[in-house]
Symmetry: C2
Subunit: 282 residues, 2 copies
């Protein structure tokens, strides 16, 4: 019996009555093995994930109608978004991954609707897109610091739901993950960044400033997740203090998304036997 | 004693008197171990490569003056360019890699100088850029099929040398690799693509057509490599029939480029002790 499954991962789904504080960042829900074995667990599905990714890419190469997968990663600073990119996406073919990270918007981006810069970075057909932060920043940091009026933020929840429905209808499977860490875990991570010369570059004094708004961020997350966890694009709130656990869950969620696409190798658009003869004569 | 080194890799450098047919695609120059051990050999430098890549990325994050690495991959169809991307670049952080592949140019691209689309895909500071095919197509396929006039192709060799010098002066280390395979090896690869349903998508009838111009391509490569293998941006002609060997060589060349940048972790632009106090109080 496996120690974890796609169904286990999907139970972390956010519902309409979601309460963020009910999720313990240090827990490892549904994982039935030893924590020490997490790394092993993690590798057992690598091959299937990699094969399905290649199949998706193959389909994208022969038809522009091929769908895509979009992984949206959100979480407080040091929540492990970069680690997920490195350890989970690092296992599939880099050519099949469209990575985008969204920092402070430029002046040009600010002059447009908040989804403008997001649309430009959507994954190409056959690709797995990854958003390291996303359009959700526009209802998170904007709410916490009042960067937008309340009614504009209110409008955005609906705009996001509509936008994501449009994506899903165009063939994109959306996997939205909040990596949920504790303030204690963040403190440890920030301490490590200050203690080690090879980690200083990851430290930003602004992170401690933002840390002062922990409760406000938790509230903004809870509201955003409730309002935008839909049938077509549900949120998953993944406990993040145990990094191998969180990475494993994301991997199973990606696997589930890929499986749900019912992929197969594309049919050749040429006569295989005729080509074999041509090749033999070449 | 190691079975391979960066100096060994650099001996594959193309000189002014380069003769392509002198390079045996099935050979493994300078490799002193068993071929069976190539995979192991390959992994011994993974950690250093990965650390230097992270250091490069770290510098890019704190300063836009940081250089970059640009790996240019060329070779006949099935030469293993995609495998290099997957197996060599797949080992470093995907966030630090800027991948670009150059297929048939679009109408818009054709309306511009041949370097226009290339410039748009140059790696960002702190990144390792990878070109799967490149501006060299404009002196290779163009020469073989007469897609441009002879004097325009002549002009391009010089334009490429100038362009690459400009890049190097701006801080980009260029690593240019021709994966040199034999026509027999290509036949095996194409046969495999036709024999296996999971490989059909990689097959293109045009590949067999191009195969008919083998000698012309070899000549075009020889001329292009001779004309553009400069002090600042030398070419390396890497035997490609033994895939683990070729991938190992590329890895050592990348390692050499990264080492030559004399990287170090960037100095913090904040007061570490003051930040430790701020964090402790947060």
């Amino acid at each position: 019996m496996a120690n974890f499954s796609t169904s286990d991962a999907k139970e972390l789904r956010v519902g309409a009555d979601f309460v963020l504080s009910d999720v313990d960042p240090g827990s490892t829900p549904n994982f039935k093995g030893d924590r020490d074995k997490l790394r092993k667990e993690f590798s057992e599905i690598d091959e299937e994930l990699s094969e399905l990714q290649e199949m998706l890419y193959a389909n994208g190469r022969v038809s522009a109608d091929t769908g895509a997968v979009l992984l949206v990663l959100q979480g407080m600073d040091t929540a492990g978004k970069g680690g997920v990119v490195r350890h989970v996406l690092g296992l599939v073919d880099p050519q099949g991954v469209d990575l985008a990270s969204f920092g402070k918007p430029t002046e040009e981006e600010l002059a447009h609707d908040f989804l403008w810069r997001i649309r430009k970075k959507l994954p190409r057909p056959g690709r797995i897109g990854v958003f390291d932060r996303s359009h959700y920043e526009d209802v998170l940091i904007h709410r916490v610091h009042g960067l937008s009026y309340a009614d504009e933020i209110e409008r955005r929840y609906g705009a996001i739901v509509d936008f994501e429905r449009e994506l899903v209808e165009s063939g994109v499977r959306i996997v939205k993950v909040m990596l949920h860490i504790s303030p204690e875990f963040q403190r440890e991570n920030l301490e490590e960044r200050l203690d080690r010369a090879d980690k200083h570059w990851k430290y930003n004094p602004g992170d401690v400033t933002e840390r002062g708004y922990w409760a406000e961020y938790q509230e903004a997350y809870e509201i955003a997740l409730r309002r935008t966890s839909t049938e077509h694009a549900p949120w998953y709130c993944v406990p993040g203090d145990d990094k191998p656990y969180a990475r494993m869950v994301v991997k199973y969620l990606l696997l589930d998304a890929l499986r749900s696409m019912d992929l197969d190798w594309p049919e050749p658009d040429f006569d295989v036997d005729a080509e074999k003869r041509r090749l033999a004569e070449s």
